[in-house]
Symmetry: D3
Subunit: 319 residues, 6 copies
């Protein structure tokens, strides 16, 4: 798409020889000799790029940004104006750490205008950091974070541009007990569970053959999750799971590599079947939420896929 | 201890011919003709007994008590002074219900001094109503109730006299994961479950072969239990259960027909194995408590023993 | 139904000559000379009646009750067993107040078994004191009170026997804005008010000609009502009112002299039209509830009917 | 006041020879042979008195009361109608404790109508148990208790009849820093303490010579007091104390043997000087209240007067 | 003050011919050809201005700021150093929206240092965005916003420079019922309303002729307002209003075009008369606040003035 | 380390003659004539420095920073990239304050990347402002602040680089009453106080000779401290203090000029002896915390050392 030679504005200072084809470097920008910059990038006015920096292809760096030693930037990354990176957790003048911390921006990530990224973090593929956010922890792939400190407020939708619209689907008709409602992600579904309610309280039940498609070899429950935290972020090769918010509420993002959807588990009688080879994320835990999970298999570490890129490859291979 | 004939104080008025041997009726007491009173009873001063009343053997009725039409009193019952019964829910002068409500006091129950019992209730075997209590609902066997309205505060201990002392046993050492601590009731035990805790919260797990002695055919959870309510009050012929307070806390009373103990489930990592042929009761639910139960069998109505007297007989037969 | 002469059990002690026809006095009861007892009463065993006591006709006094100097009992009153009255707020042995406090039980009131009535109170016509209740304040006509201290939990229904069943009517369809739903009491109705809702909050409106059948000369609002308190207990000759729970919830009892109904105002968009000549009561205020009332007339003390008996007479006259 | 011989109603049954002069026993009352009853008592209809009972002089026992083995009743005690005593904590028919528990009613105590007194308790001199109360713990001298279970709501005022009116005195003018406001009890006073307030919070100070009339040898603070509990109930021979509610609020009753007053400590800047030879009581603690006390002396157990009767004697001796 | 020609620093790059008289452009600043810049502006070092940008007169743009395509900046606007604008809600490298969002800064607005402005917003005339704020919603005229996300904390005072000092006026003497206290804005006043208070709660009243200067044709109430939200932001041609915080508290800003004042409505007995032709704003709603408003006219959309600039013109015309 | 002459990049613009030896000024930076810059500084690309600015020695100013008129910067200060300063609280275009506010950065302070510093503040020696923080108040020496608005989350440890690790020391064994546990800072210690606990609550005590090493001439207590506020920040020449959190919890930082430690006071039975000549800071107050302090001396203003630099000098002199 871009022509063979990089473009340098007359007022730009580029001391590096490692700049890809079609990349443009604009006025008052300054690139030090050691920097490696891919092709078709756009380096805007007043940008400063140090030596130990690697920038992929198709990257946009808006005005007023500095890329410090230790930054590793993938392909297709967007960095908004005045976004600020760091490479020293406790900087003191004239005191230097043995090694600067590495910050990694995976492919397709976007950093919002004037955002601040603390050192040593990984911003996952396709993630989006909101304008003005102060990022203090790793950001998972496709997550959308905002605020100071930044918290995850959503995930990107299947189109990859906008945040997921939390569907209203979770409000199934409470009377439709046992009806499986497909979610369009893998073979996942939600259903309303049988609920026996009287003056002494309520009892909901999960029984193999009646709603539950497997005999649970393992039951576990998750609790004390800080409101801003995220769990899951993995897929299983073959383990099936069934999720219920036994107390409080939380949200689940499901991703089969093609389609991504979000479900709100907000009732102890709402069950979610999470199929194998679906990437699952749980977040937006209410204070005191308890997530109960029945699993079709005993614990087996080798059944977990914890790297999203690997998950995408596996999914692609299966198709 | 009692001789063949009932004793009547000269100032007593007994119009009934159906009074058992050894029963004593004291001054200013008045028994109407239709009343049936067992042997070895003690009917104190100022008691009044109507016609449609049946009193068992070894019953004590202290001063100032009236037994109204519709009362059915078992053996060994104690009724404290000025305790007051009723047989009409909404009494209006000169307006009579078609039939008076029946109140039943099962064997060995005690009614505290000046307590008030609303009509149509069943006070279970061995139950104890505290002095001054106002009882508005059925009282299960062996339960101890106090207050206005009366709530269950305990169950009788194995000796049958005092309330259970809630043992401190539930505070197992959190580090003794997987160690089964016997409770002395049937083959029940408690154990600390494996708990994987990090900054994102905690995860506790129940897995067949690791702590859980059966594959769960059914998982159910109980919630929205009013603080004053009681659940359980049954035993199973063969279903095994494993209980965890997934959120909040509650107490469990276990009774194998001989020994009775109480356990406080107050942590999502504390598990209780409830053996077959053990009568189980859950109560003292904290607001928002969630009790999760894994069961070794699918639901089978015929596996439940819901009558405590029957349970006692079955236990006795097995020994 | 009762014959001309009162009946005295041989063991009864009646020193009064002022006992009405058909009244029966039973064993071990004791009536002092000054007491005045109406006709067709039933005075049961172990009752004690002092001198300065007036009892109406058709009154039932169950066993173990004492009627002390200062008690005034209307017709058709029921007094349950061991119910206890008082006439001295701070009794000390051998110290007597200048005058004993008068307790009044209006026609048709029922006092539950073992209830305690503090001195100087008025128990309104048709009111019902629950068994075991400890009454520390006046009880309005038809109110049902329970507990220690006793609080109003309901009012008698139109049949006069059971408590009102709180109808589910208040859950009008939120979409039926402006539809008047008749309540069957006078010309009262409820309706859902127009509600303009957006992300900045909600706005509900009351406008003459659109829902509101009068121009409000006066608007007032009631707040800080203790949960156990009752307001209203009056009718208006001609003032119309429109009630909304602007915050929180409360219940309204409506009584046109023939029919009595209860409505729960639980939304700032639910309006209640309270017609003239309807006795209105507000109670069961949630903590922090605010009741807003628009009135068709300026304040005029002479428009209030504050005595329920007078209200009943006025209603009867109009028919 | 009473004549030499006790009076017995013809229908009364008195089997005891130990009844004091001027005592009257009324119809259907029954006194067993072992009971000892003082002079000028009034034993009303339907009362029952067992053998191991001691009743002082000038005692009133209203109708429907039973006095059981183990009761010890001082002089001038009032027992309201249907008030009910007990002597076995866990009564079972035909099972008797080795010894019945003793209940003691000290001089001048009043038991309200239909109250229930659990066994083994001491009701202090001059205390008042409200009508319908269920007393489960000892009641200190002069305390007024109500409810089920009974809690202290006040103390008797100096006249000995009515409860103390909580004075509004504690609302000293916050600007009158350092002005000692006499309370009329011993040499006690309250004062507003210097308070240095800015945006970082507030600092209040107690310094010898500036408000504090002694150098504190000891500082202690009281916390985690259950709302229904009472502390203090003692006087000091010579130790002076200065009290501040460092957090929350509580009430203090002061009693110099002649005058009794109550003060609400509801601000960390309100100080109370508690003089020697003043009986002090702290109660009505708000949840989370912290009471800080500076004392003029080191701890010395012999400086405490813990028996109210002894305190009264000491005070009388000093006058 | 400014001379005829714009000033360009030798190190500045200005490619536009549309720069007003007296405007200065400083070192390392870069203006693209399409930009239109008014007169007497100050464009500081390191500023970058794209093509589709319009800047008014007397605008200050401090160092490190970029003005992107789509920005429309009025007269007299101040933009602090490193303040950052945006024009794409979900930026992805190499993906462009059909059209960039327009951000508008009205006359006299100030953007604090290092603030971040999300795309597509309008910053009202005279508004002030605090340093470091992240603005995610429109800012009304004269509002002062701070934080991430930015919320309104105040409005500018009448002088137009500093934020309004919230006057303590709202603490009228509760005893001065009915005294109108002028606010100095139009003919607005506040007054303490009649309040009838007893143990059953409080009743406050608004009656035509007694405090209320009109017969209310309409009553409405506002609720469920998120704490960070603002309501009102309009004036009426002729409708008079009377405001009361029936529950909770909120603040009202009043603006007659010359003077601006703020009042805290923090009591259900504090009323505010809001005159016609006064711009009214309600904000700082406490959680659960309910604002009740009585209006002198039925709803008439044409009576509303919703544009502040138009309001200012109308006021000026009337003077 | 630095050579005699300052280094200027060819693209830098330095108009000042007052630049210290060894200082380097990089590309596109711009220094106005009046600025005074010390030796061995590093002024990075795209920095702008106004006239009335004083910069000490060994200062690092990263890219994209502007130093405005009124800034006073000590030695060894670090200023991160895009950090933004201000000198006008309410900036309006073309309106200038009489004097710009002075912002002071004391020796050794660090300003994190993209932080915003409001005008007129003092950033104490060694303090660290976190990346992205918005500082609205003075920052004490050695404090670490983060967030928008910035709050103190820690203090620097003795090494001067990382934040203090809150030691677990405060969890002394509750049974080790009276054992003094040295803190390694001056002669400070913590100890568990005697605690007398029963069902009526707890009483903890401080008595001279038993734990308390002095007779308290003064007792004061601190309350209503906003969670984000800090108290103390001073040392005493000779006054000894003893601190207890009488309610809630707070943290204390102790600094003897060489060693700095932090203690959490989280129990009313945990006491801290704060020796003379130890700099003490209290912060992280829980809502409703009450800090009680007994002091060995009456108040004496001349005993306070309120300036940290002076404190360091005094300490150095004593060694």
């Amino acid at each position: 798409m871009s022509s063979a030679e990089p473009f340098l504005h007359p007022q730009a200072m580029c001391e590096s020889n490692s700049v890809g084809a079609g990349t443009r470097i604009w006025a008052f920008a300054h690139v030090l000799p050691g920097a490696k910059i891919g092709s078709s990038c756009n380096i805007c006015d007043h940008v400063f790029i140090e030596n130990d920096v690697v920038v992929g292809d198709d990257v946009t760096v808006k005005c007023g940004v500095q890329l410090w030693d230790g930054l590793r930037i993938g392909n297709g990354v967007f960095i908004g104006p005045n976004a600020t990176f760091t490479n020293d957790r406790f900087p003191r003048s004239k005191q230097y750490p043995d090694q600067f911390l590495t910050t990694t921006l995976e492919d397709g990530a976007s950093i919002g205008a004037n955002a601040t990224i603390l050192p040593g973090l990984r911003i996952g593929a396709g993630a989006m950091v909101g304008a003005g956010a102060v990022v203090t922890r790793d950001v998972p792939p496709n997550a959308v974070v905002v605020g100071n400190p930044a918290v995850i407020v959503s995930y990107r939708d299947s189109s990859g541009v906008e945040p997921l619209k939390a569907p209203e689907r979770c409000s199934t008709n409470p009377d439709d007990v046992g009806v499986r409602q497909k979610l369009g992600v893998g073979s996942c579904w939600i259903e309303r569970l049988p609920n026996f309610e009287d003056m002494r309280g309520s009892l909901a039940v999960l029984e193999h053959g009646k709603g539950l498609p497997f005999v649970p070899k393992r039951v576990f429950w998750v609790f004390n999750v800080p409101t801003r935290d995220v769990r899951g972020e993995h897929a299983h090769h073959k383990c099936e799971q069934f999720l219920v918010a036994a107390h409080g509420a939380l949200s689940v993002v499901l991703d089969d590599g093609v389609t991504r959807e979000e479900v709100r588990l907000d009732s102890p009688t709402l069950g979610l079947y999470l199929a194998p080879m679906v990437w699952g994320i749980q977040y937006k835990f209410e204070r005191d939420a308890v997530l109960m999970i029945a699993a079709s298999e005993p614990y087996d570490g080798s059944d977990y896929i914890r790297d999203y890129a690997q998950f995408r490859h596996l999914v692609a291979d299966q198709q």
